[in-house]
């Protein structure tokens, strides 16, 4: 049995267990101002054909000139995927006809991509860890968009996307379940967003996956695969794989065979279906684009990018666990989104990281979740939350009062220290005042005092009474210490 086969990943069929094998080609839109080979803008949307240059529309005699920033982004991504960077790579033409492909070919990289083999480590909620091999990453042009519902007899073509730079990131067939596949895409998305090389916006199509699915008996060689094109949400990736694996298993169990084909995922039905327009076998006639010279990079160019790489999620996670004593779960929660980790690190900076993590994960994330807000929309800034943590640390407020302050800042805004000051929420640390309250409570309850001598747990009741008497502002530590000595519990 394959080392990667986990019993829990197997799918039970009528004739026994099946293993699904998944490989992914993720198309990630490169974050850049201008397109890969033209000076038109990359911004999503826009009036039809507004973000189109003569080059993107493939007017006669127009020529491509490569955008350095897109090259740098591909290298940066390669480095982030711990992959080898090819100092020499070649752009090829992939020839086929389609109305949204103006040149009649896509400029892509075929035999010599800019980035070679790398890997992505994927940690699942179950604690399972999968190392997914990256086969390659190459740069290519996006196509335009064909709209089919504007007119009964016609399709409409908009070339705003035409020529936008994409990174196609090809994984090895190392994934064995829809959960793994979803986690892989999330992780990849996280890495790209840390690197700033792709915004990861799946609704706008900045990240989409072609999913290759096959099934086999555990231990057997690879089965025939089907490619599900352009799946544009992580949830859909999971659904598509589940459906496709079941479909293939049923066919094989019924004595049929799988046709290697391209399929589409229908989000409405949750099913995959064969693409009719791709019936004809493709023959892309790849050859090096004679309008472009080979792309040659210097080691210095690569080193400079390597020097500017941010700390990536795996490194951060390890550091949070080792240095901050966070649980792997908490560390995962924090590192999975770049915005979250940035927020957390702002709060943690110069403070107790564990306490910062608690406040970020439990209070802030809890509240954001409840109200359906993203971290970017948080009404409490990292500085404000840090201020609350500072007040606890300084003993100015108790953890309990801090939650009230959090609530006030959430709804009304403002500086936590000022709020505490103005509203008299400061913790009472004046021992004389607390002592007075303790004495009063003890004097009023001689029976309890007697009980406490035998049952030290009753001291807790006194704490509550004293806190009540001081309006919750007494320092719990001070109350405890005083009670212990006065009740003679030491």
């Amino acid at each position: 049995m394959d080392a990667k086969t986990e019993k829990s990943n197997l799918i039970a069929g009528e004739t026994g267990d099946w293993e699904v094998v998944i490989g992914m080609e993720v198309h990630a839109q490169v974050t850049s101002n201008a397109k890969l080979f033209s000076g038109a803008r990359t911004e999503f949307g826009g009036e039809p054909n507004a973000h189109v240059s003569l080059v993107d529309a493939a007017m006669p005699g127009m020529l491509p000139v490569i955008n350095e920033a897109c090259v740098a982004q591909a290298v940066r991504t390669g480095l982030g995927l711990k992959a080898e960077i090819n100092l020499s790579s070649v752009f090829d033409r992939k020839n086929y006809f389609y109305p949204d492909l103006p040149q009649g070919y896509q400029i892509s990289q075929y035999k010599n991509p800019i980035v070679g083999e790398g890997e992505v480590i994927v940690d699942l909620l179950s604690g399972e860890r999968v190392v997914v091999g990256i086969e390659r990453l190459h740069l290519e042009q996006d196509a335009g968009k064909s709209l089919h519902d504007q007119h009964p007899q016609n399709s409409y073509v908009d070339l705003n996307r035409s020529g936008v730079a994409l990174m196609e990131i090809v994984s090895k067939p190392d994934l064995r379940s829809s959960e793994q596949a979803k986690a892989y895409v999330s992780k990849l998305r996280t890495i790209l967003r840390y690197l700033g090389t792709c915004d990861g916006n799946m609704e706008e199509g900045s990240l989409r996956a072609d999913v290759n699915v096959s099934v086999r008996r555990p231990g057997d060689g690879f089965g025939t695969r089907c490619e599900i094109k352009n799946v544009n949400s992580i949830r859909f990736i999971g659904q598509a794989i589940e459906y496709e694996a079941r479909r293939q298993i049923e066919i094989i169990e019924d004595g049929g065979t799988i046709d290697q084909e391209t399929r589409l995922f229908d989000a409405k039905t949750g099913e995959t279906r064969s693409m009719r327009s791709k019936e004809e076998a493709h023959d892309y006639r790849y050859f090096p684009d004679p309008d472009l010279l080979p792309l040659e990079l210097t080691q210095d160019f690569v080193d400079e990018i390597a020097g500017s790489l941010p700390e990536l999620p795996d490194e951060k996670r390890a550091r949070f666990i080792a240095d901050y004593g966070l649980t792997p779960y908490d560390a995962d929660v924090l590192v999975s989104e770049r915005e979250s980790v940035d927020y957390f690190e702002d709060v943690a900076k110069g403070r107790d990281a564990k306490q910062a993590a608690n406040w970020v994960i439990n209070e802030l994330f809890g509240r954001l979740n409840k109200e359906g807000l993203a971290i970017d929309d948080s009404p409490i800034s990292s500085a404000q939350l840090g201020g609350i943590v500072d007040l606890i640390k300084a003993g100015t407020i108790s953890g309990k009062i801090a939650k009230d302050v959090f609530d006030i800042v959430w709804t009304e805004g403002g500086d936590p220290a000022e709020i505490v000051e103005k509203r008299g929420m400061k913790q009472v640390t004046d021992t004389r005042a607390i002592e007075k309250a303790v004495d009063e409570v003890m004097a009023a309850n001689p029976d309890k005092v007697a009980q406490a001598k035998e049952k030290p747990a009753v001291a807790g009741w006194f704490v509550g009474q004293v806190m009540k008497a001081t309006g919750g502002k007494a320092s719990p530590q001070a109350v405890n210490a005083l009670l212990k000595s006065k009740l003679g519990l030491e």
Partner: protein, 95 residues
């Protein structure tokens, strides 16, 4: 004949050029003639020869990431055989 009739039709389909049977017949012999003639390259042993990828020792220069183009939709669709609201219009595509 290095090219048969079926191949002529397959190639014409790939190149998106409609051809008649008569044309296919003519093309079959013309294309075969050309391919037979270029087959003289087989005399050369090129096993250890690098393909030419550039004429002179030039490296590809790169452009800055600046928006310098676009916002000329009227020019883009000006020559279009069919156009609507700055979209190109084609017969309905079935996916």
């Amino acid at each position: 004949m290095s090219v048969d009739r079926a191949t002529v039709f397959r190639i014409a389909r790939l190149a998106r050029i409609a051809i008649t049977d008569a044309e296919a017949e003519r093309l079959e012999s013309e294309l075969s003639g050309i391919l037979d003639w270029v087959a003289q390259l087989d005399e050369l042993d090129t096993a250890n020869v690098e393909p030419m990828t550039r004429v002179e020792a030039m490296t590809m220069k790169m452009r800055k990431d600046e928006v310098t183009d676009g916002f000329c939709a009227a020019d883009i669709v000006k020559n279009a055989p069919q156009e609507d609201d700055h979209y190109f219009v084609v017969p309905k595509i079935v996916e």
